[in-house]
């Protein structure tokens, strides 16, 4: 929409052929006034801008400052230049945390995106109780993460947990879930997938419901089957929505905190210690704020890079 020409019909103000002197005069006056309005509308954003400056922009800048200092909560602050960053490169614990985060993120993006597309295709169709089913499906995403993490923790209990009971009752061996270093990340990915597939579904469903029906009618006449219609019509058309959903997933999976913190707190040992867990530990366990700030900045760059790379694929055609 344009702030200068909408609303009133296009007046003949430039053609020099006024229909009525009063009408065009008013139009001109309104337009001139509106020009000054466009500048004055800034005023509306000032209070929010101050808040954003205080609670969002200021922390960013302050983090930058802290990251070049040896900054402990106890009080002593020394300027150390880029030492914190150099230290990060040789910090095995940090590098392992990065590797673990990438492992977790890859799985926690791919699974929700695939299942989310499947769910969106299903929920785009008509069936009885569709509204109720959709509500049930999106509940995990809305529920308080700490609360659901707690219930998952109880379900993962090796002896008394309901999940091992279910596994053994269908003849499968019990799993050690979050209590072994090999299964802990897949288990956390499962929780993340359970929690966030609904968001992917909603975004992709938004894409599907905006599709035209003509291509499908044409394909019907040409005798295409359901899979072919999905593969050659739906998928290419909803590709931008899938990319957006994937970007959101990447950002959220990298930032995942609540469920991991409550269920494993990085354990057992450090086998589920993602960047965010290590960051929390460094800042509020060891109170090494300077080092944690450097970590935040590297983490932020990683998030931005990965989401920009993915967004770039949005521009490309889907060619498989």
């Amino acid at each position: 929409m344009s702030a200068t020409t909408t609303g009133a019909p296009q007046g003949p103000t430039t053609s020099g052929a006024p229909e009525g002197p009063t009408a065009s005069g008013v139009l001109l006056a309104v337009r001139r006034r509106r020009h000054t309005y466009v500048r004055r509308y800034w005023v509306f954003a000032v209070p929010a801008a101050l808040v954003v400056a205080a609670v969002i922009v200021f922390p960013w800048l302050f983090t930058l400052v802290m990251s070049v200092h040896d900054w402990k909560v106890s009080g002593n602050v020394y300027y150390v230049g880029l030492t914190n960053y150099a230290h990060l490169l040789h910090d095995d614990r940090f590098l392992w945390a990065v590797a673990r985060t990438l492992y977790f993120t890859t799985a926690a993006v791919v699974l929700p995106v695939l299942i989310g597309i499947w769910a969106a295709v299903c929920f785009a169709r008509q069936f009885p109780l569709r509204g109720a089913a959709r509500t049930a499906f999106i509940l995990p995403m809305m529920a308080t993460p700490v609360a659901i993490a707690l219930v998952w923790t109880m379900m993962f209990h090796p002896q008394l947990g309901v999940l091992n009971y279910l596994l053994t009752s269908v003849g499968l061996p019990p799993s050690s879930w979050v209590y072994s270093s090999t299964t802990v990340i897949p288990t956390l990915v499962m929780v993340e997938t359970w929690q966030w597939t609904p968001l992917v579904m909603l975004i992709v469903l938004g894409g599907i419901s905006s599709l035209p029906i003509d291509p499908y009618e044409a394909a019907e006449i040409d005798g295409a089957n359901g899979w072919q219609m999905f593969r050659y019509i739906t998928l290419p058309l909803i590709w931008p929505f899938i990319v957006v959903a994937a970007v959101m997933r990447v950002i959220d999976a990298l930032k995942a905190f609540d469920t991991i913190f409550v269920i494993t707190n990085g354990g057992p040992g450090t086998s589920s210690e993602t960047i965010n867990m290590l960051l929390y530990q460094t800042a509020f366990g060891y109170y090494d704020l300077g080092y944690a700030s450097a970590m935040v900045l590297v983490f932020f760059v990683l998030i931005m890079l990965l989401s920009l790379v993915l967004l770039h694929t949005r521009q490309q055609e889907l060619t498989l």
Binding site: W60, T63, L199
Partner: protein, 295 residues
């Protein structure tokens, strides 16, 4: 995707009967696949919440029984009573209500005009700033703000929580309101301006009433994000200023063995959000897909 319903016999009249039969069969398989898919997709969520409810209504004996018991026998509310009696959940509930309502209210106060201003001036750079705010991990705000609150001696009060929750609520409100104000017809505001209203009056008496559905969406989402937030509380809250998610986490650390009260506490924390989702689903879905923003 959806196969069209069988058309009247006139148009399909010339088709061979066997072709019609095959069509019906395919349609039937298609429907069965759909129902099966929906069942598989929805059951993890339903089973989870049913089990959560079951845990919270069972006595300790049933909760530690093996094989697990699904139906409480007899159902008991003792767990809920214990949560409020022993863990001071009333205080934490009040804290959560104060923090979430203040953070949402302030965000509306600042964010609705800001969304209007940005929509009118088409300041896309401001929108980019909000997107970056969404990408930044919560911990990166906490480290500097924690220090500032320590210097100001505000730790141990609710103010740090309300202020940090603005990090969540202001961007979501601004983001949703930009989209909503951009979609409103401008004719009404313009006639108000022509009639001599100031831009403030045009905003207050024309744009805001028109944008009420958008404000509703922004309010619900901001409230949910604030209510669900854990990370700010776990760092900034003192013993008496815990919000519900922090309080329920502490129940876990101190009472790891008693599952009933734990599940009851979890249910108390998340019940308001689940109810909001049940009754306001349309608004929530609109907000999440339009903005695509989530804190």
């Amino acid at each position: 995707m959806a196969p069209p319903p069988p058309k009247p016999a006139v148009t399909r009249g010339e088709r061979h009967p066997r072709a019609v039969g095959r069509y019906r069969l395919r349609h039937w398989i298609n429907q069965a696949g759909l129902y099966l898919s929906v069942l598989i997709l929805v059951s993890p969520s339903i089973l989870f919440f049913v089990w959560m409810l079951s845990l919270s209504l069972k006595n300790e004996l049933d909760n530690t029984a093996y094989p697990p018991v699904l139906i409480p026998h007899p159902p008991t509310l003792a767990n809920f009573v214990q949560v409020f009696a022993k863990n001071d959940f009333l205080t934490y509930t009040i804290n959560s209500v104060i923090v979430s309502f203040s953070a949402t209210g302030l965000a509306l106060l600042f964010g609705v005009p800001a969304g209007y201003g940005i929509a009118k001036t088409q300041a896309t750079k401001a929108a980019v700033l909000i997107l970056i705010a969404r990408v930044t991990p919560g911990l990166s705000y906490l480290i500097p703000l924690f220090l500032v609150f320590q210097w100001l001696g505000m730790l141990g009060t609710l103010y740090p929580l309300i202020i940090t929750h603005l990090v969540l609520t202001v961007p979501i409100v601004v983001w949703i309101m930009i989209g909503y104000f951009e979609g409103l017809p401008v004719a009404l505001e313009e006639s108000a301006l022509v009639d001599g209203a100031t831009i403030w009056q045009a905003f207050r008496y024309v744009a805001v009433p028109l944008a009420r559905p958008g404000i509703m969406v922004a309010t619900i989402l901001a409230f949910i994000f604030s209510w669900n937030n854990f990370i700010f509380g776990v760092v900034l809250a003192g013993r008496t200023t815990r919000t519900l998610p922090v309080a329920v986490y502490n129940v876990l650390t101190f009472e790891q063995i008693s599952w009933g009260p734990l599940a009851a506490a979890a249910l108390v924390v998340t019940a308001p959000v689940l109810l909001l989702t049940l009754f306001m689903q349309k608004e929530i879905v609109a907000g999440l897909t339009a903005g695509g923003v989530k804190a």
